[in-house]
């Protein structure tokens, strides 16, 4: 099947642009963190770009996503601007969450990004709740719950799938199967090798997807979203991928062989997508470079915005604990 049967040239290029923006944003985050510019700790998305970009390309702006501790890529793909994300990572008052949340809690409810989440699998029930709400309100919106191969063992995953399946809710459960949960290979803690088979227990479709191919992540999400919007019910997508960096920036990575990492880095999903686009005659070499250059400038602008922004005043720390105190 040729690529243009799956998606329009504009969409194919848009996905490429999203992947490049995520890659450059995250590379800069890594540098900034190592240079001591960012407080807290950060988990980067490098290597997994084809998932966020492909999945979010199949969603409308008002559809919902719930994210994870590795959430910058989801935030960017769902349409958040880079400046407020970067400012949030700096802990600045202009950050998406006014500096309250930081890397693990970036959110923008105006684009349906219901939050990165520091609790593994913490977003899955929330995605089901958003889908319930959308159906009740009759809006036609759907929800995507992102999670990892580690999150698939949390009780909340199983409870969310059962509930969503029982009520035929419009949710797509997207497992970003990057092979590790922190330092532990999924093979050591998980009863099944093909994670998609867990869907069978809840009577819903489960599909294993090449998570490094945006054509696949997009197409499978599109099908799942169609089922979700029509009220047929949820889908579990097991998207196979690999994180290029450590669990967090600074991770010594003693738990995996550098040869393994090297081999996986050579299958860089962005370079692979560029080859596809070039082969299909959708992108000339120069056009690709322009995308990288433009995204690089956008990231630099986000960094400047963050650096020039003020920190929040300590005196505002107790704002927003409640909507109204009484």
């Amino acid at each position: 099947m040729s690529l243009t049967e799956t998606m329009s040239p504009g969409l194919a290029l848009g996905i490429h642009q999203a992947m490049v923006r995520i890659r450059l944003f995250e590379s800069r985050v890594e540098e900034l963190f190592k240079a001591g510019e960012l407080p807290g700790f950060v988990h980067t998305y490098i290597g997994q770009e084809a998932i966020a970009a492909g999945v979010c390309a199949a969603l409308n702006r008002d559809d919902y996503i719930t994210s994870t501790h590795r959430g910058h890529g989801h935030a960017i793909a769902k349409g958040m601007e880079l400046g407020p994300i970067m400012a949030e990572l700096y802990g600045k008052a202009t950050g998406a969450c006014r500096g309250r949340g930081g890397s693990m809690h970036v959110a923008d409810f105006s684009v349906g990004m219901l939050g990165a989440n520091g609790i593994v699998a913490g977003g899955l029930g929330i995605a089901a709740g958003a889908a319930l709400s959308a159906r009740y309100r009759g809006t036609g919106q759907v929800a995507v719950g992102f999670f990892g191969d580690g999150g698939i063992n949390k009780g909340t995953f199983h409870e969310a799938l059962n509930f969503a399946a029982t009520h035929r809710l419009g949710v797509v459960f997207v497992c970003e199967n990057n092979q590790y949960a922190q330092f532990t290979s999924r093979l050591r803690t998980t009863s099944v090798e093909d994670l998609s088979v867990r869907a069978a227990a809840y009577g819903i479709p489960g599909v294993t997807v090449d998570g490094n191919d945006p054509a696949a992540t997009y197409r499978q999400t599109l099908e799942a979203v169609a089922r979700a919007r029509e009220g047929v019910g949820p889908t579990l997508l097991n998207m196979e991928t690999y994180r290029f960096g450590g669990h967090y920036v600074g991770d010594a990575e003693v738990y995996r062989a550098s040869a393994e990492v090297q081999a996986r880095r050579e299958e860089d999903p962005i370079l692979r997508w560029e080859r596809t686009l070039t082969d299909e005659g959708l992108m000339t070499a120069g056009a690709g470079d322009a995308v990288w250059a433009e995204a690089g400038e956008e990231v630099s602008a986000a960094v400047s915005f963050a650096e020039e922004s003020p920190y929040p005043e300590g005196g505002t720390a107790l704002e927003n604990v409640f909507t109204r105190v009484r």
């Binding site: 802990g91 009780g155 920190y311």
Partner: protein
């Protein structure tokens, strides 16, 4: 804190806990460890090297399934093992609260004393460099509220070792809280199999003017605060509880009846916190000896924010203890 022969070893808080685990596991093959990533030493190196010595039958890598970590711990504990369950960050215990509250804490009592639940729950708590709302909490107040659970919170490597050893030896469920900011801190640990009994507070500094009662990381802030207060001519006595349940109220009261003034400090939220229990106990038992209303120091009533200036505004430290001490002294 050295033994009579004076020999000590210097090690970090984290290493001291590994040392305690090792002694316990060598002595008693019923001791097993359950937790995420523990083959690799855990998030803070608090299990480093245990897999090599004791193997995968005793050092069990758990999936990210906190409820099951606790439930398996309870099931194993009531059938002859002595599990140590690791919850990494204390917030992750919340996904196992049913197992902690409804099972571990109640089994012995509900079943009429037929069994005990010799289980240790290790969890890292507290604020560490902008870890934000879901990775910065101090939740001891949730655990101390529950009859059936013991709760300890050491602040130095010697106590870390001694209390963990005592916790594993204890026949009841013990919540062992290790503050993230002190896990890497080094200090002397008495040579040999050092044990600190549960329920014994330590007087860290003697003083005549006021009593500061604290535990965990706040002990370190309080030590600095005491030095500053001394420069101001205020002579503070510093009591580190070490163990919250059982609580060594005798040590606290014997100080308070002399000083008549009390500050109780913890990093956890002040509102509804464990400090309220300590103040209530003091007020109830030594009311006529108090010369000023006790003052509490704790975090302001907000989730712990990410941005450093906000985190600083919410989380108390040395300055807040000094200010509270001056307040009970009637100096501000």
């Amino acid at each position: 804190m050295a033994q009579r022969d004076g020999t000590t070893r210097r090690m970090s808080f984290g290493q001291a806990t590994v040392d305690a685990m090792r002694s316990a596991m060598r002595e008693d093959d019923r001791v097993v460890v359950l937790g995420e990533d523990i083959s690799w030493g855990g998030n803070f190196g608090q299990f480093r090297g245990l897999l090599d010595e004791f193997g995968p039958d005793r050092v069990i890598d758990m999936p990210i399934s906190e409820a099951i970590i606790m439930a398996v711990g309870v099931g194993a504990a009531v059938t002859g093992l002595r599990p140590v369950a690791s919850m990494s960050f204390v917030e992750f215990t919340l996904g196992a609260m049913d197992e902690i509250v409804n099972q571990a804490a109640k089994f012995r009592y509900m079943f009429g004393g037929q069994v005990s639940v010799p289980l240790v729950l290790r969890a890292s708590d507290g604020v560490l460099r902008s870890s934000a709302g879901q990775h910065s909490s101090s939740l001891e107040g949730l655990f101390t509220h529950l009859p059936g659970l013991k709760v300890v919170a050491p602040s130095n490597p010697a106590d870390a070792r001694g209390l963990l050893r005592a916790a594993i030896a204890d026949d009841d469920p013990v919540v062992y809280l290790e503050n993230k900011r002190i896990t890497a801190k080094r200090g002397p640990v008495p040579a040999g199999d050092h044990v600190v009994p549960l329920g014994s507070a330590a007087v860290r500094r003697t003083g005549a003017d006021l009593t500061i009662v604290t535990y965990s990381v706040m002990t370190l802030h309080a030590e600095k605060a005491c030095a500053r207060l001394a420069e101001m001519g205020i002579d503070a006595e510093l009591i580190e509880l070490r163990s919250l349940v059982p609580l060594d109220l005798d040590t606290v009261l014997s100080s308070v009846v002399r000083t008549g003034r009390v500050v109780v400090a913890h990093e956890a939220w002040e509102f509804g916190g464990f400090g309220a229990e300590v103040v209530a106990a003091i007020t109830g038992q030594a009311f006529d000896r108090l010369r000023a209303a006790p003052v509490r120091v704790g975090a302001a009533q907000a989730p712990i924010p990410f941005s450093p200036p906000l985190e600083r505004a919410v989380v108390p430290g040395e300055d807040e203890i000094v200010a509270a001490a001056r307040e009970v002294m009637g100096l501000c």
